[in-house]
């Protein structure tokens, strides 16, 4: 029986670039901006990094393929650099690679870096790209908002929820994230919005309006990981360790078998259950202090709170409207603004979520600091509700 990853690896340095429309930056600039902060935080020399993982999803519009873009940008000393891609969960995959490498003893210190430069396409929204020769011939033509919007129709039908009430809960989610993002100097969107603004915004994909969709941003985030022993030798105190790293990938059941009802993510339910087990968490609603979930769209965040077993099934609308996930609620969610406002440079997002939890646990989150969080969860999703990859990571203070 595998013993899991709990407390085997510590995070000793993190960095994150400012997210947004970084018209002045190449991929290289974003990588270096995040790395500079990270290496300074870790207090090590770049030559001590023994292996690196680069996460980037839509490399064809910016860096190009392989591990080379990271090795070039940082002039890494001819170490192994692996590029990973798993849709929007790529950043979590880079972290998983680095953490597993350290946990296995294959190396002492490893780097995980995610970067995405999306704003060189000439239009808003995500870049259009080929989906594979066969898929292109039969998959419905669809966009990210259109695929996630499917959740709303099924959730509404399943729980018999009035369309207006669901829309109001979705609006609350976006209003909350904008309020949080306004306090984050690195966030892409820092404006506060009102429920009325959300409800009257133009429709992107029924029923999602403009403010139900996250930002499409440029940015990079990274982490340096090592063993708790080496971390202590580096002089680190109050270690932040990895408690769980789980990934669940759809095998086609949702899209091809009638057992799935379209209103939730099978993967998120599976990954979170495994993560809680790995981290030794029995009652996540009580034990988790902070959550950073993949709020690519407001409806995604809403159903995810149930999939993570934080809200009871069918109970997310009430929890959201009650303010349970607000910054002053029982379980603050997207305290940094989330994908919605911090932004969503695809390959970076999983690491950006970890970055915020890391700052919060060290009491370094300035204006948006919550009181003494010990355990935090990240949920990083890629694909579409009917076929996706879902990562759930839990980090916390050593011993928590």
């Amino acid at each position: 029986m595998a013993s899991g990853i709990r407390d085997k690896v510590a995070i000793v340095g993190m960095g994150c670039s400012k997210f947004g429309e970084r018209w002045d930056c190449d991929t290289e600039d974003l990588i270096v901006e995040a790395f500079e902060e990270c290496i300074l935080d870790a207090g090590i020399d770049i030559k001590e990094i023994q292996a690196a993982w680069l996460a980037t999803a839509i490399e064809e519009v910016h860096s190009g393929k392989g591990g080379i873009p990271l090795a070039f940008a940082l002039r890494l000393p001819y170490i192994p650099v692996t590029r990973v891609e798993n849709f929007c969960a790529s950043g979590s995959e880079a972290l998983r690679g680095a953490v597993y490498a350290v946990a296995s003893g294959a190396c002492d210190i490893a780097l995980a870096l995610g970067v995405e430069k999306l704003k060189d396409t000439g239009y808003g929204g995500l870049p259009q790209r080929s989906r594979g020769v066969l898929n292109s011939m039969w998959w419905a033509n669809y966009s990210a908002p259109g695929s996630f919007a499917q959740l709303a129709s099924a959730y509404q039908a399943k729980h018999g929820i009035n369309a207006d009430e669901l829309k109001r809960a979705m609006a609350h989610i976006s209003v909350k994230s904008h309020a949080n993002g306004s306090k984050n100097p690195k966030a892409h969107l820092r404006n506060k919005i009102t429920e009325d603004q959300v409800l009257s915004a133009p429709i992107i994909a029924e029923p999602l309006g403009l403010f139900d969709c996250c930002g499409v941003s440029d940015g990079a985030a990274c982490a340096i990981v090592t063993t708790p022993e080496i971390a202590r030798n580096l002089g680190k105190k109050d270690l932040i360790t990895v408690k769980a790293l789980q990934l669940s990938v759809s095998n086609g059941t949702e899209s091809g078998h009638n057992s799935w009802d379209g209103s939730h993510f099978m993967t998120a339910r599976i990954a979170s259950t495994r993560a809680y087990e790995e981290a030794g968490i029995r009652d996540p609603r009580k034990e988790i202090d902070l959550a950073e979930v993949h709020d690519c769209f407001s409806i995604t965040e809403l159903v995810t709170m149930e999939d993570l077993h934080l809200s009871p099934e069918g109970g997310a609308v009430k929890d959201v409207l009650d303010g349970f996930y607000d910054s002053d609620g029982g379980l603050p969610c997207q305290i940094d603004g989330g994908l919605k406002c911090f932004g969503h440079p695809i390959g970076s997002s999983g690491l950006r979520m970890i970055y915020e939890l890391y700052l919060q646990m060290q009491g370094r989150a300035s204006e948006r600091q919550v009181e003494n969080p010990k355990l935090g969860l990240t949920h990083n999703l890629g694909g579409a509700p009917h076929q996706n990859v879902c990562s759930v990571a839990i980090i916390g203070q050593l011993g928590a």
Binding site: Y123, R129, A140, G146, S147, Q150, E206, G256
Partner: protein, 486 residues
């Protein structure tokens, strides 16, 4: 007995009001204002002569219990492929056995009747299986052309054979005369037309009546035996004049569908024939004539079996499945009559890997998925390992066709972001009766009228255009069923 053993047809759901054309183009072509009554059928952006032919064929075959076919003859002057057999695409969409002869017949407004004549000639009763005859046209015109008002889009389908004949062929007569009323030369998109008065006086009113009279002789009938005469023309009074000239009463003229569907090119005589057969009684004589560098005239007599044959919807059913369109700009855009800003999202390269298309042709053209031998689960697409999480057996799936299986909407959205010639693009997961589902594009939906649980029917449509290479991808989309209004 040789004749028609079944019939059907298809008319696209969209009907452009002719008033909306006249309002836009009347300033430059005052003559079209007098035609500005009624409506014409227009293809949706994802329809063409091939997709219409497929729907007409399904309409004809639905109630024939898997009738064995040995050939498809497709008549059309607007085939999407100049060199790729269009009737072969139809055969693949219908998931027919590959032991089949497929032939495209084109290049004249008689293409539809010529296909029918060829099939009747070949149907000698000695060979097993019927011949499926299809005629389909979606003729393009320049904006403000008079024909833009009078034309329509549509298709007709017949099975031809010696068993279960509903309309026996009594005889036919064909003439070939190089009378060029219009032509469309190589690499030209639109027809070039000569003067109507000459076409009427020297062409229609000479060639057709003569051929009809000859056909009467060959069929062994007299003019007074004729119950229904089909001799369509968009020129006013011509059909009535022909009737008079051949001694048939004007009341016997079949409904022209002018102002309802419009003139559907080489399909039109057969669209009218299919329409007439819907209400024909046993023992009636029906004469159908076409015109185009000559003339085909066919004489049929309905049998007792006509009383029990019904197409799935029939031309009249498809006429009722109607959605009025008053936006002439949309018609212009669908038909590339205007240079339109489509946005950068329309720039996606839609190259088709022909190797892949061939490997999965039954899936992509015939909507054939799989049925697991072990657990019976239906799934799309067919895969090496069963999708049922409680089975997951390997290499157990036999082909299972979903095209005719009813489905319901499980999830949906209307997407304003993804490029679509007619936004918003609708799609969602559809769940088939008896199992199987996939995320499908929807077509022929009304904005604001889509809901979970809605009944859907699969239709063969164009998925993507590859303008760079002149290719188009076909696939199946879900359309609301029960759209017919009585």
């Amino acid at each position: 007995m040789i004749g028609l053993s079944g019939f059907g047809g298809y008319i696209p759901r969209l009907r452009l009001s002719r008033k909306s054309i006249a309002e836009v183009n009347g300033w430059i072509q005052p003559g079209i204002k007098r035609l500005g009554k009624g409506e014409r059928s227009i293809c949706n952006w994802d329809e063409d002569s091939v997709t219409m032919a497929v729907e007409a064929a399904r309409d004809c075959l639905d109630n024939q219990n898997g009738k064995q076919l040995r050939a498809i003859y497709l008549g059309s002057t607007t085939l999407p492929f100049q060199d790729r057999q269009n009737s072969g695409v139809v055969a693949a969409a219908l998931n027919l056995d590959e032991a089949l002869s497929t032939i495209d017949i084109t290049a004249a407004q008689t293409a539809g009747t010529s296909a029918l004549v060829a099939a009747l000639d070949a149907a000698d009763g000695a060979k097993e299986g019927d011949i499926l005859v299809l005629a389909s046209d979606a003729r393009r015109t320049r904006s403000a052309a008079q024909q833009e008002m009078t034309f329509g889009d549509g298709a007709a389908a017949f099975t031809v054979g010696s068993k279960d004949v509903v309309a026996e062929l009594l005889g036919y007569h064909s003439v070939s005369i190089d009378f060029v009323d219009h032509y469309r030369g190589d690499n030209r998109e639109y027809d070039y037309n000569w003067e109507e008065r000459w076409i009427r006086d020297e062409g229609l009113l000479k060639i057709i009546p003569n051929a009809i009279s000859e056909a009467f002789g060959k069929a062994g009938i007299a003019a007074e035996d004729v119950d229904v005469l089909i001799a369509p023309s968009t020129l006013r009074g011509v059909s009535a004049k022909i009737a008079k000239m051949v001694g048939v009463s004007e009341e016997s003229l079949a409904e022209s569908l002018d102002g309802v569907v419009g003139e559907t090119g080489c399909a039109h005589p057969l669209v009218m024939l299919s329409h007439s057969l819907e209400s024909a009684l046993p023992g009636q004589v029906i004469v159908v004539a076409s015109f185009g560098q000559g003339c085909d005239v066919l004489v049929f007599k309905t049998t007792d079996a006509i009383a029990s044959f019904k197409p799935s919807l029939g031309i009249s059913g498809y006429i009722s499945r109607r959605c009025e369109e008053t936006n002439y700009n949309k018609f212009m855009a669908f038909n590339d009559l205007v240079l339109q800003e489509k946005g950068m999202r329309a720039e996606l390269d839609n190259q088709t890997a022909l190797t892949q298309l061939y490997r999965r042709r039954d899936m992509l053209l015939g909507l054939v998925g799989g049925e697991c031998d072990v657990c019976g689960t239906h799934q799309f697409p067919r895969s090496r390992i069963c999708v049922n999480p409680n089975c997951n057996a390997m290499n157990t799936q036999k082909p299972f066709q979903f095209a005719d299986i009813p489905s319901k909407i499980m999830t949906w959205s209307a997407d304003h972001l993804t490029y679509c010639p007619d936004p918003p693009l609708h799609y969602g997961i559809i769940q088939f009766e008896g199992g199987g589902r996939f995320l499908a594009n929807f077509t022929d939906v009304d904005v604001g009228n889509v809901e979970v649980g809605q009944d859907m029917r699969m239709m063969f449509r164009i998925k993507d255009y590859d303008d760079l290479r002149g290719f188009r991808r076909y696939f199946w989309k879900a359309a609301p069923s029960n759209q017919t209004r009585n």
